[in-house]
């Protein structure tokens, strides 16, 4: 007994080190394990509040840019409004088919990261504003990501610039589907993989969200095709997409809730289980 106590006493620093190392390694491995598993995140009261205060000051430096973006978005919405008077000429793709399916919550990015392999954003609304995990996040220019974790007042978002990010997307012109991913190299570009070879892909074509996504409404812009090459392993096309969003400077954003999501997922679950 005496010897055990002596041993513990002599190696107390090493034991403390191993304990702390164990805890922090657990956090690290957990955060890499699977989607929505991060134990340590900025969606908590202390870090959320301080980041919000810092962001309040920083926001003043981007007001002009923010105003211009809002004006551009207003112009875009006005264009839709003025051009829908002729009901025979209405573009069927620009408005969601059923009104009331999607709920939109306005929020603001308070922490933005883009220099890492797995990037997350933190936004200033959380569970008490009605935000739940797996809701879509867009800006006026296009897709940003989806919600990962929420606390009472804050939420973290998996950004497009994250190796865990997956989203069904399509080429707007001919409806060929692919999966949007990020290879971790350039913050201005994402990759659309697994596009069938029979699709006609032309540089400059617009990529939008696909209809099979339960997170995003259809036809939200993502970016334009920049480069086309063939994946040697799978023999499918891989496209480099120039994102419409400048992911390095984000301000106000919209969180989209799909009210039919649960119903769709239950249906899919029931079908695959049979």
């Amino acid at each position: 007994m005496q010897q055990i106590v002596n041993f513990l006493f002599k190696n107390s620093i090493t034991l403390l080190f191993l304990l702390l190392l164990g805890i922090s390694l657990t956090f690290t491995i957990q955060s890499h394990a699977y989607h929505r598993s991060q134990a340590v995140s900025s969606a908590n009261a202390v870090t959320g509040y301080t980041s919000e205060q810092i962001n309040n000051v920083e926001a003043y430096f981007g007001l002009r840019e923010q105003n211009e973006q809002l004006a551009a978005e207003n112009a875009q919405l006005k264009r839709l409004l003025y051009n829908t008077q002729d009901s025979t000429n209405r573009p069927p793709v620009t408005l969601p088919t059923e009104l009331g399916t999607y709920k939109v919550i306005q929020s603001k990015v308070i922490i933005n990261s883009y220099s890492k392999q797995d990037n997350y954003l933190t936004i200033s609304s959380g569970a008490k504003d009605g935000i739940k995990p797996d809701m879509g996040v867009v800006s006026s220019q296009g897709v940003i990501g989806y919600i990962e974790n929420t606390s009472a007042g804050y939420a973290t978002v998996i950004s497009v610039l994250n190796s865990k990010f997956r989203l069904g997307a399509k080429i707007k012109k001919n409806n060929h589907f692919g999966t949007l991913t990020w290879n971790g190299k350039n913050t201005g570009f994402a990759q659309l993989v697994d596009v069938p070879r029979l699709a006609t892909v032309i540089k400059g074509d617009t990529i939008v969200t696909g209809a099979e996504s339960t997170i995003f409404p259809e036809n939200i812009p993502i970016g334009t095709i920049e480069k086309v090459y063939i994946d040697k392993k799978t023999n499918y096309y891989t496209l480099d997409i120039r994102l419409f969003n400048d992911m390095t400077s984000l301000g106000y954003i919209y969180v989209i809730e799909n009210k039919d999501k649960k119903e769709i997922e239950q249906l899919q679950q029931a079908t695959t289980n049979e």
């Binding site: 403390l16 900025s42 890492k116 392999q117 797995d118 933190t122």
Partner: protein, 169 residues
């Protein structure tokens, strides 16, 4: 003794604040973020309580992880650095370092520079390997370590030089 404790607490808070408010927003060439907050571990008194250093380093890393949404690599790197510190002291200043009065935040000698350099390399290597966490990205992690080490080292040296006059008061 009391003033040493106070200075260390202030240093902890100040470095954490500087890292969160200023350094995390720097993104040189789109991917270089310096991490001068590890100066807290380097400048901790040589003969100070090791358990306190380990625990405070763990929490320093944990706070940085929270603000950066990284999930854990900063705390691992900080804890390992805090534990390995005496070994690096021995390497840079010789075996009898405990009997000398070493002050890291003094004029920069080759010994001090080598000590800071080794510490920064170890911290960044662990940090980037754990942050990327994929075998296919080891080369990227090493490149990131190299570039960021240079950046952090420059910022650390500048910070030490800037703070020095205040220390003599």
């Amino acid at each position: 003794m009391n003033s040493t404790v106070l200075i260390n607490i202030l240093r902890f808070l100040a470095l954490l604040a500087v890292q969160v408010v200023v350094c995390n927003k720097i993104s040189l060439f789109g991917f270089l973020v310096p991490y001068p907050y590890i100066l807290y571990i380097l400048l901790y008194p040589v003969n100070g309580n090791k358990a306190v250093l380990l625990i405070s380093a763990f929490f320093l890393g944990l706070f940085i992880d929270m603000y950066l949404n990284t999930g854990g690599p900063h705390s691992v790197a900080c804890v390992v650095l805090a534990y390995m510190r005496p070994t690096f002291f021995k390497f840079s200043f010789g075996v009898s370092y405990e009997y000398q009065t070493i002050k890291i935040n003094d004029r920069l000698s080759p010994e001090r520079l080598s000590f800071i350099f080794i510490c920064v390399v170890l911290h960044h290597l662990i940090l980037f390997l754990l942050e990327m966490f994929r075998f296919s990205l080891i080369l990227d992690a090493l490149l990131h370590t190299l570039y960021t080490t240079i950046f952090t080292l420059i910022i650390c040296v500048i910070t030490i030089y800037l703070i020095k006059p205040a220390k003599q008061l």
